[in-house]
Amino acid sequence: MSDALLKLSGLKKAYRGKPALRGIDFEVRPNEIFALLGPTGAGKSSTIQAAAGLLDLDAGQVMLDGRDVTDIDPACRDLSIVFEGFNLLPVLNVYDNIAFALRSPSYREDEAEIRKRVHATAELLRIAHHLDRDVGTLSGGEKQRVAIARALVRRPCMFLLDEPLSALDLKLREGLRSELRQIHRDQNSTILYATHDYHGAISIADRIGIINQGRILQSGTIEEIFARPANVFVGRLIGSPAMAFFDAEVEGDQVQIKGCDQTLPAAPFGLSGRTDGAMQLGVWPEDIHVTDGNSGANSASVYAVDNRGYECAVQIDFGTGLFRKVLDEGQTLKQGETCGFRISEGAGFLFDQASGACLSHQHEGAAR
């Protein structure tokens, strides 16, 4: 699409011959939060650094607001970046840390304007009462607020946030995340947000790009990804709990599930290309119905139980594997108990056993 604010195409980068980015393609649209979600070492930080111009790319193109900035100096890209490690300047107090970017040669503002903007930004992030403090005396949460304030104060065309909250504890992370989203709404900003935390990504992002081993595996809204996960890796990363996987065999018009008595009709999967043989069946836990005792289509036992307050999740052992599921309201199961389960017909996806790619074409284009 041509309306992208940031467009990355074919980014490649190797460190000492070891590829970190193997062809990254995605775009961030104006006024959206785009989360780059993937495990440690997936290439999130390299991608952010490439967008910022902090990385010498081996190949690829970075377009910012319709302009090719691939070979343009970081200082001339009009981006702000926030790092996981805060990277505050220890010799300056909070005020001067925030004001620093406004005093740089490229973005020099007069002191009256700087004062106004620093105070306004500090108010927004609730650190106005810390402006005189030495950054060394701040707590982790306060330091990260200063780092975010320093990025916000400049009003660049886009923000790049690299795991900005990972160093903070859970409660603080949650609070800052909703504040960030609020600030984003109030200021109509555009944000590229890298994180390894699924919950962190879905509670802030408009769209998500799933990254692994230097490639974007899928991007879209969370509903789009749920409606058709591109491969096994995406299924394992998304959802709470994540997708349940079963070894399956397609024979004629039936899908046999290993370790289960239930068979599923093959037609609704809409297989194209390969239509029989060993595959992996992936099912969202919401499409599996767990029953007490031996009443379900397949018998299993409860491996472990996880209380979450309003809901209770269980891990089900079906002999040849395990899956996790949030129980229906009012349902209780104990560790070691026998139970049954049934997979809803028409739900689930078939994946290639070797490549992990999704072979089913049902729900295509449909968002739940």
């Binding site: 495990p39 440690t40 504890d169 859970l170 409660k171 949650e174 609070g175 909703s178 504040e179 989203r181 609020q182 709404r185 390894h196 935390d197 919950h199 879905i202 509670s203 408009d206 809204t221 969370i222 509903e223 749920f226 990363l237 998304i238 959802g239 709470s240 919401e286 491996y303 472990a304 139980v305 996880d306 209380n307 979450r308 307050g309 309003y310 999740a313 891990q315 996790r324 560790q335 070691g336």
Partner: protein, 361 residues
């Protein structure tokens, strides 16, 4: 296995009281989780139980016997730390049987113990491998196997999952819950992660500022927190806290114009001559009206999808509060609906919960 009792335990570092008059009984076979923010005294308590830290005051009893003066090795405890500390030059089998060999256990007995623990921990395929070759979740599992192989009276775990990557952490959380119940060993577990505490604990011991705030099973502490601290610390997304100020037809919510009707606040709470704060979990704030819900008119700010459900936010003056809604479409929303059973009231000054009968919990 043993019952562990702490009686008026205090640990002081100079003028600083790291643990302040803590009393608690952990029953035989129980999984107790000490939960709290950094610096609340939970690890110091654990170290005192282990004998790695001297108690300044109070008694520590294992099965009724005072162990204050026993060394860590005499207490028959096993401890697992945040950072995996396996011997890198020994393979997994040698690591696990190390404590048994150190005690001079006969080889036949060692083999029997090893079989037992390898079966439970499902480590059969890893025995000949070295710690460096295993993923972090598995190495922590080996540390646990090594800890329990010699039948400790008490298993002490100090944030064993916090140094592990997110993806392995959830895996290990499930595994730990399963294993502890299989083993039935008395376990004291320290964490700052409320999700771990909720999913693993038989009982949660919530600590703050060196003191115990609340001791209860996960469901009770979640649905019946005794204070603002407990309500806020447990549960995700976090509980909303909103100051109430009396007006003609009810209570004004925060700095907004929205009013919580009088009847939504129990009479005994209304009568309390102190400023009141409302606590309500986002899941008890909905866009759609339900049976018995309390309607409050105010504008909805933002609605966004978080997978299968939606969060929404509403503004109360400067404060932003949050709700959860299962609806997939958004209309022009001009009200929130509060589930009455989810409304909790706190003393705005002390943070203590005020029960429906007016009693301070």
């Amino acid at each position: 296995m043993a019952k562990v009792e702490l009686k008026n335990l205090s640990v002081e570092f100079g003028a600083f009281k790291a643990v302040d008059d803590v009393s608690l009984t952990v029953e035989d076979g129980e999984f107790a989780v000490y939960l709290g923010p950094s610096g609340c005294g939970k690890t110091t308590t654990l170290r005192a139980v282990a004998g790695l830290q001297n108690a300044t005051q109070g008694d520590i009893l294992f099965d009724g016997e005072r162990v204050n003066d026993q060394s860590p090795s005499e207490r028959n405890i096993a401890m697992v730390f945040q950072f995996v500390s396996l011997y890198p030059h020994l393979n997994i089998r040698e690591n696990i049987i190390f404590p048994l060999k150190a005690r001079g256990m006969p080889n036949a007995e060692i083999a029997r113990k090893l079989d037992w623990v390898v079966g439970i921990f499902n480590l059969g395929d890893e025995l000949k491998r070295y710690p460096g070759a295993l993923p972090p979740g598995t190495t922590q599992k080996v540390s646990l196997a090594r800890a329990v192989v010699r039948d400790p009276a008490v298993l002490l775990l100090d944030e064993p999952l916090s140094a592990i990557d997110e993806q392995f952490r959830e895996e290990m959380r499930w595994e730990l819950g399963h294993l502890q119940r299989e083993l039935g060993v008395t376990t004291i577990y320290v964490t700052h992660d409320q999700r771990e505490a909720m999913s693993l604990a038989d009982r949660i011991v919530l600590m703050n500022n060196s003191k115990i705030v609340q001791v209860a099973d996960p469901q009770s502490i979640f649905f019946n927190p005794n204070s603002e601290f407990a309500g806020n610390f447990i549960g995700s997304p976090s509980m909303n806290f909103i100051d109430l100020s009396p007006v003609a037809n009810g209570f004004r919510l925060g700095e907004s114009k929205a009013v919580l009707p009088t009847e939504a606040v129990p009479e005994a709470v209304r009568g309390a001559a102190r400023p009141i704060r409302l606590g309500v979990r986002p899941r008890d704030v909905q866009l759609l009206a339900g049976p018995g819900t309390v309607r409050v008119d105010l504008p909805i700010e933002d609605v966004f999808s978080v997978g299968r459900e939606r969060y929404f936010t509403f503004r109360l003056g400067d404060e932003i509060a949050q709700g959860v809604d299962a609806r997939t479409r958004r209309d022009a929303d001009t009200a929130i609906n509060l589930r009455p059973e989810g409304l909790m009231f706190f003393d705005a000054q002390t943070g203590q919960r005020i029960a429906a009968n007016g009693a301070v919990l």
